[in-house]
């Protein structure tokens, strides 16, 4: 029971990170129908920017932790959003209206380019960050020595994810900006007939997705304490899986899918074997898709008439 609870906490933490990245995949798919394979790299760049900010602040002697974290998250979100905007502008927009596979191919190219770019400019070695936030809450401490605890870092990750997702859901469902985003997703031509600047709305989608991924990148850095140029690939594939599992195009689906993948991975590692955790995650994806081809919360694909 204690073990189960501990794994549950770990799984929710990991799932939060996946969920934040998955939103970027699902939003972009929803609005332009393409999989942005470079999104994992956006997450990776977010974590590098966060690390750079941390080191820069340390170098000038700023060590007050709440301030450091705040600056890290703000700078990482803004800079990563700029990356996301630029990638759309450079690699995807010129190909809009081209055949369907074209942006997919540039997305893969962009992903490889960004990985190599970071590898060359930052070096291939892993970048460590000593743990900044230690300790936690001991939830259960039974006599035979099994401790269930939730670390402060986990609390921060989960709380931050809840706040971001709540804010983001509100933005999409209640504001004029969110309505324009949904309108473009449902009928781009009609949205433009109502005066919506469709290109700008698509750019905005990349900006939002990238800034959420940046937060995920920063939390990954603080949680695991080590990053390299390749983390975007693994996390990206997992988050993409999460988005598909939840139903690609569906925002609650991305959040749910992220959580599900995080939990599956953690429980599998905890009870069976760490080596096969990815196999477990992908098997469950395959099984779900057999019975629910549009994912857990996705809409069935209907031909437009």
């Amino acid at each position: 029971m204690e073990y189960f609870l501990q794994q549950l906490i770990n799984g929710i933490t990991l799932g939060s990170i996946y969920g934040l990245i998955a939103i970027g995949y699902t939003m972009v798919y929803g609005i332009i129908g393409m999989i942005n394979f470079a999104h994992g790299e956006i997450f990776m760049i977010g974590s590098f920017i966060a690390l750079t900010v941390f080191l820069a602040l340390a170098a000038i002697g700023v060590t007050f932790l709440p301030l450091v974290l705040l600056l890290m998250v703000i700078v990482a979100m803004v800079c990563t959003a700029a990356w996301g905007w630029t990638i759309e502008r450079v690699a995807y927009r010129p190909l809009r209206g081209s055949f369907r596979l074209a942006p997919l191919i540039t997305a893969i190219g962009m992903s490889i380019f960004l990985q190599n770019f970071v590898q060359i400019t930052q070096g291939a070695r892993v970048k460590p960050l000593p743990p900044q936030i230690q300790g936690g809450l001991i939830l259960m401490n039974n006599p035979n020595g099994i401790v269930v605890q939730i670390s402060w870092m986990q609390i921060i990750i989960i709380a931050m994810t809840i706040v971001l997702m709540a804010g983001f859901s509100l933005l999409i469902s209640k504001t004029s900006l969110g309505r324009q985003q949904r309108a473009c997703e449902q009928d781009r031509k009609m949205a433009s007939l109502l005066g919506v600047n469709v290109d700008r709305t698509i750019s905005l989608t990349f900006v939002i997705g990238a800034s959420l991924a940046a937060v995920a990148g920063m939390m990954y850095l603080l949680y695991y304490g080590v990053i390299d140029f390749y983390i975007g690939f693994i996390a990206g594939v997992k988050a993409f899986t999460a988005a598909v599992l939840g139903g690609i195009g569906s925002l609650p689906g991305a959040m749910l899918g992220g959580l599900a993948i995080g939990l599956i991975e953690t429980f599998w590692s905890g009870y069976f074997s760490v080596e096969y955790k990815d196999v477990a995650a992908f098997s469950i994806l395959a099984i779900v898709l057999i019975f629910m081809p549009s994912g857990l919360l996705g809409r069935p694909e209907v031909e437009k008439v």
């Binding site: 004029s176 309505r179 324009q180 949904r182 309108a183 449902q186 009928d187 031509k189 009609m190 949205a191 433009s192 007939l193 109502l194 005066g195 919506v196 600047n197 469709v198």
Partner: protein
């Protein structure tokens, strides 16, 4: 402004389409179309399926853009402007197939219609649309995709009106609707024109109703205008009667 100038301005058409040619790839859809719509008029464009009526409607809105010719709206050349800029000049369109946002509520659809407008008008504009189409008020929390065809058409027109247009473009508002609903919708168009002076450019296959409603009409065949005249004149023409009305009047 001198009196002579203002008369000149008033006599200039609100929308002037001159020699417009539109292509889809290599296929020419419009072959030099000339249409004028004056302030306060209802002008209709009738023609068979595939004649290019909807293409003209979309060309006015810049999607696709005309490859030759000129479109002047309110004295400004809008031929090469992007769609969202054209729509911000108080032109609104209720397009072919209605294109209601299916997964948005009626209210959200109407809010989408008002995105270019000042928030402070919103309540008034909403009240106006609900007065014209009381059905929409009843259904305001319902998703667009679950409405009936007639309700969707009302929503499409209501949504267009939310932007306070000077020129309303209506593409086949009667398509696929029951005669009673068609009558109701045409009545609203007539009212808007008579009471508020709204200028309407109406594309229709339902030639009989459209020509009776409109002040003037154009007939389009194969991407070119073949006849023009007042609604009554066109209704009386033998060619029009045989091509578009026989068996079609109901």
């Amino acid at each position: 402004m001198s009196a002579a100038q203002s008369i000149l301005l008033a006599s200039e058409p609100l929308l002037a389409i001159r020699g417009v040619e539109t292509f889809y790839g290599k296929i020419q859809a419009l072959r030099g179309v000339d249409v004028e719509v004056h302030r306060g008029e209802i002008v209709t464009l009738i023609g068979a399926n595939g004649a290019g009526k909807s293409t003209l409607m979309m060309t006015i809105c810049g999607n696709p853009q005309a490859r030759a010719g000129q479109i002047v709206y309110n004295g400004k050349d809008i031929t090469h402007l992007p769609t969202h800029d054209i729509m911000s000049m108080s032109i609104a369109q209720s397009p072919e197939g209605r294109r209601v946002f299916p997964r948005m509520t009626v209210m959200e659809n109407l809010q989408m219609g008002a995105i270019l407008e000042d928030d402070k008008h919103f309540e008034d504009d909403l009240k106006r649309v609900f007065t014209l189409f009381p059905r929409l008020k009843e259904r305001r929390g319902q998703r667009g995709g679950t409405l009936s065809g007639g309700e969707q058409q009302m929503l499409a027109i209501g949504r267009a009106l939310m932007s306070r247009p000077k020129l309303l473009l209506l593409d086949e508002p009667s398509l696929g609707l029951a005669p009673l609903v068609v009558k109701q919708i045409f009545e609203v168009i007539r009212e808007l024109n008579a009471n508020e002076g709204l200028t309407v450019f109406l594309v229709e296959q339902n030639a009989f109703h459209a020509l009776r409603l409109a002040h003037r009409g154009y007939v389009m065949v194969n991407g070119a205008i073949t006849m023009a005249g007042t609604g009554r004149e066109l209704l009386a023409r033998e060619e029009v009667r045989s091509a578009y009305l026989e068996g079609g009047a109901h």
